[in-house]
């Protein structure tokens, strides 16, 4: 049986989404937030999009820096995701308070998150408002990947890393590597 709603009280049906820390440095300010609303946009050139509400400090920092990094977290880092997602950089310096380890980027000035299993360095190429969020579009200039986490085609190995997945309302889950399948049409 299906229930049909035309007046949405919540909008979380699309989860689970992977969690990334997204942010940048502008001047002396460095700030990141947990972000589950993101998607690849293009293979060639490689473009990646993240959604950030205007009220977030991360919005201001990325807009000023014209660049950002995207840093994917493993399930073990769920506490960091909660801290970076539920607390605003306007109120507290999250990087200092939660002792987030940063590492230098190769191409851009803003740092990556050292503990992420894969990070993208992005140059901001477009910003567009959609409702209550802005889409920041980044051209991916460099990728930092933890060795052994991806196969030679760049496919994540779920026996090596358990990606953190968000379900909404502070619920998280990860994948079951025993369910891995390779399926092509007959």
């Amino acid at each position: 049986m299906k229930k049909i709603s035309t007046q949405l009280k919540q909008f979380q049906y699309f989860y689970p989404y992977t969690v990334a820390l997204v942010g940048a440095r502008s001047g002396t300010r460095v700030n990141y937030m947990a972000c589950a609303w993101h998607t690849a946009l293009s293979f060639d050139p490689p473009l990646f999009g993240i959604l950030v509400a205007k009220k977030r400090l991360t919005h201001q920092v990325i807009t000023e820096a014209r660049e950002f990094t995207v840093n994917f977290l493993a399930a073990e880092q769920v506490k960091l995701s909660a801290q970076m997602g539920r607390i605003s950089g306007h109120e507290r310096d999250k990087v200092e308070e939660f002792e987030v380890k940063l590492a230098p980027s190769q191409v851009i000035a803003s740092p990556i998150i050292a503990e992420a299993y894969v990070s993208f360095e992005c140059q901001l190429v477009d910003t567009r408002t959609y409702g209550d969020h802005d889409l920041f579009v980044g051209q991916v200039l460099a990728v930092h990947e933890e060795e052994g986490m991806f196969n030679e085609d760049g496919v994540l190995n779920p026996r090596k890393v358990s990606p953190l997945l968000y379900l909404g309302c502070d619920f998280y889950v990860t994948v079951d590597p025993d369910t891995l399948k390779h399926v092509v049409p007959d």
Copy 2:
């Protein structure tokens, strides 16, 4: 140890992403494709974005129909995802050939996929080109959800449904419900 690449040979590091069938009806033509590049864009109004390459028949059908549906698949439906993802509607009538069960929408004219555990009816409100894909932005006018799959706050229950997750290169996986956690900052 981290490996740094500035010349990308592949771009799949962001997976796993949930798989949705996206498509529409235009005149007598109804076509869907499997889509892993999608994201929520806004809560209020509820906006949902999907990425579709220009060469896909789905691109043409959605552009003509000015509307589309988004239909999320469970892990058991992996074969359907492979068929709808790897075969072009330009060559074969996938809905007929694979006996995809459709159901009427409540608000728009294009049908939903009956087997999906949750479906969105979307009105096309923006189209924007990013590299080799176009972002179709839909305002969500109605949601069809299989009863019992989501809690009262709209959070997916991974003991009731195993969402199909794509890893790239025809690899799929799903979640482990035993890893479900509710985590908030101290």
